[in-house]
């Protein structure tokens, strides 16, 4: 019996160690970014742990970094909103309608997920040039151009998470509302919509993250002055590194953790893990 207990304890220690190791792996880069952002030393290379504490980089964040951050947030929110407008009806149609070729339609909606983002970036670049040649409409380096491509990237996530909720949906609830005399529109607004809302929130959040975190599409389609945050950081890291990058990245890291807290309060983390947004 003692041997079993010892074994069980060893197993417990091993699993705690494994989890701890994984968390160190996952969080080390974030801790290092936050830590190094407070280093005031002279920068021949980046210091972690910080050599001398200073917040000076926080006052030296270039205004165009803030601009690109504002652009990315605005673009992400617009993408998330429009992706819901497109994705929720698509999901309802996919789950509720019976028609031939439904599997094909579902696959078409998922298709953007199968195309590498680089390929989406360069193919939209080509398409935009073509549209420019034929219609004289300029899309490269413009906000609408970025928005269309981001919508293409992000809508499948909304469809996916709303479909997941709808498949667990109890149709009786709608029937009950209808049989009690509610109109179709009222039933939709008062019964269907509130029930699928967690899926919509989760989908909107994934859509925002896809847009906010995207580099290749924004890199190719955004022009000077039209670079969302992630693409801007990418460029700065490749060409001219500036320590204030660490400071603004720290804002993002803190913001992400704060948003988790609010999401947990608003819709519950279960919803996020269950719809497993890929």
């Amino acid at each position: 019996m003692n041997r079993y207990r010892a074994l069980a304890r060893a197993r417990g220690v091993a699993s705690v160690a494994w989890i701890a190791g994984a968390f160190v792996f996952l969080f080390a880069p974030l801790v290092v970014v936050v830590g190094a952002s407070f280093d005031g030393g002279n920068r021949t290379f980046l210091n972690f742990p910080p050599q001398e504490f200073s917040t000076r980089w926080y006052f030296q964040i270039a205004p165009d970094l803030f601009q690109s951050l504002a652009l990315a947030v605005g673009l992400g929110l617009t993408t998330a909103f429009l992706a819901c407008i497109l994705g929720v009806p698509a999901a309802l149609g996919l789950v509720r309608a019976e028609f031939r070729g439904k599997a094909i339609v579902a696959a078409l909606f998922r298709a953007p997920l199968q195309i590498p983002a680089v390929v989406i970036g360069v193919s939209f670049l080509k398409l935009y040039y073509l549209i420019g040649d034929v219609f004289g409409l300029r899309l490269v380096g413009t906000l609408p151009g970025l928005l269309i491509a981001h919508l293409f990237l992000a809508t499948p996530y909304v469809i996916g998470s709303v479909v997941a909720v709808l498949q667990r949906f109890n149709l009786r609830l709608e029937e009950a509302a209808l049989s009690l005399g509610a109109s179709r529109i009222r039933t939709f607004r008062r019964v269907t919509l509130p029930l699928i809302m967690p899926g919509v929130y989760a989908g909107a959040m994934y859509a925002f993250l896809v847009s906010f975190g995207d580099v290749p599409v924004s890199l190719f389609l955004g022009g000077p002055g039209m670079q969302p945050f992630a693409a801007k950081i990418f460029n700065l890291m490749e060409y001219d590194f500036d320590p204030s990058l660490l400071a603004i990245s720290t804002y993002i890291i803190v913001g992400s953790f704060a948003s988790i807290y609010f999401l947990q309060r608003a819709i519950g983390l279960d919803q996020l893990t269950r719809s497993g947004g890929g």
């Binding site: 074994l7 197993r11 699993s15 989890i19 994984a22 968390f23 792996f25 996952l26 969080f27 080390a28 880069p29 974030l30 801790v31 290092v32 970014v33 980046l46 972690f48 497109l86 009806p89 698509a90 309802l92 149609g93 309608a97 019976e98 028609f99 339609v105 909606f109 953007p112 199968q114 195309i115 590498p116 983002a117 680089v118 390929v119 989406i120 360069v122 193919s123 080509k126 398409l127 269309i148 809508t155 906010f212 975190g213 580099v215 190719f220 945050f229 992630a230 950081i233 990418f234 490749e238 890291i253 992400s256 953790f257 948003s259 947990q264 893990t273 269950r274 497993g276 947004g277 890929g278």
Partner: protein, 284 residues
């Protein structure tokens, strides 16, 4: 009455289908035309670009490297991620939620910032390298930039968070009572793992592995930043070819082959899975 559901699907279908076809056709058909200078293209249909891909070692090596890196990352992600997902799913503690929230938060943060952190950790004068050299484990600093191993680490940071979440929901579908039943009948722990947990989570493991594999095949950001102009995976090569050299034709060819190879590997794995499944159910 029922027909209404068709119509609400139509606008978004037309839009996504339109964008999908327009962008992919406009781009991919370029693969069959010769690149002239300054982004202009020839007018004669040709397979020259495809021929070049399969004869020029630059492209073939890149394809092999991309598949190898993606496979490595998929396997490592499952090996590291599954035990964590398992423990989290079985843990009955107030900490579960906090740990899960941590993983979700980590997977929220854009890969650019994580790569920034990785580069600091592995910088030649950084604390990790100084420590490793002090202990004598390595004699010269480990570099992450410009080295395929570094790209693997970067890609794992890209895929680990959501893989754990996916696997977590897989383990949650396995009733604990099945494990207990096996244990009561005297099965040692490894046997419970090999005969109960593993077979039941195999489909989920394969799906997660494939998602990770596909993401890595197409991953650009971490490969480009950590590769540092030395590790050319296919997505990095596509960017180089199209953006820096304005060779849309060759870029389209590489893209087409990248997507076809990814699709083929997915198809083969699904096929292998169903075969395995059938054989197993025939035995049972």
């Amino acid at each position: 009455m029922k027909a209404r559901w068709h119509w609400i699907l139509l606008p978004s279908l037309l839009l996504s289908l339109g964008l999908l076809l327009a962008s992919q056709i406009a781009f991919l058909r370029g693969g069959f035309f010769r690149d002239l200078r300054l982004g202009r293209m020839g007018t004669d249909f040709t397979l020259a670009n495809y021929e070049r891909f399969f004869t020029d070692p630059l492209y073939l090596d890149s394809l092999v490297l991309t598949v190898r890196l993606s496979l490595t990352v998929a396997i490592l992600t499952l090996l590291v991620g599954f035990p964590i997902a398992y423990v989290l799913a079985r843990l009955k503690s107030r900490w579960t939620l906090v740990l899960l929230a941590g993983i979700i938060a980590a997977s929220f943060i854009t890969i650019v910032i994580k790569v920034l952190g990785l580069i600091i950790i592995f910088s030649s004068g950084g604390f990790l390298n100084r420590f490793l050299m002090w202990t004598g484990i390595v004699s010269s600093p480990i570099a992450i930039v410009g080295n395929p191993g570094g790209v693997v680490v970067g890609l794992m940071h890209f895929t680990m968070g959501f893989s754990i979440l996916l696997l977590y929901s897989v383990v949650q579908t396995i009733p604990r009572s099945l494990e207990e039943a096996a244990e009561i009948h005297g099965a040692p722990r490894w046997r419970v793992f090999a005969r109960v947990i593993l077979p039941l989570s195999l489909p989920g493991l394969v799906v997660t592995g494939l998602i990770v594999f596909n993401l890595c095949m197409g991953a650009f950001t971490s490969a480009a930043l950590i590769g540092g102009g030395k590790v050319f995976t296919l997505p990095v090569l596509i960017q180089q070819t199209v953006i820096n050299q304005t060779r849309y034709g060759m870029g389209a060819t590489i893209s087409a082959i990248l997507m076809l190879v990814t699709l083929a590997i997915n198809g083969l794995s699904v096929l292998a899975m169903t075969k395995l499944d059938k054989r197993r159910s025939a035995v049972a």
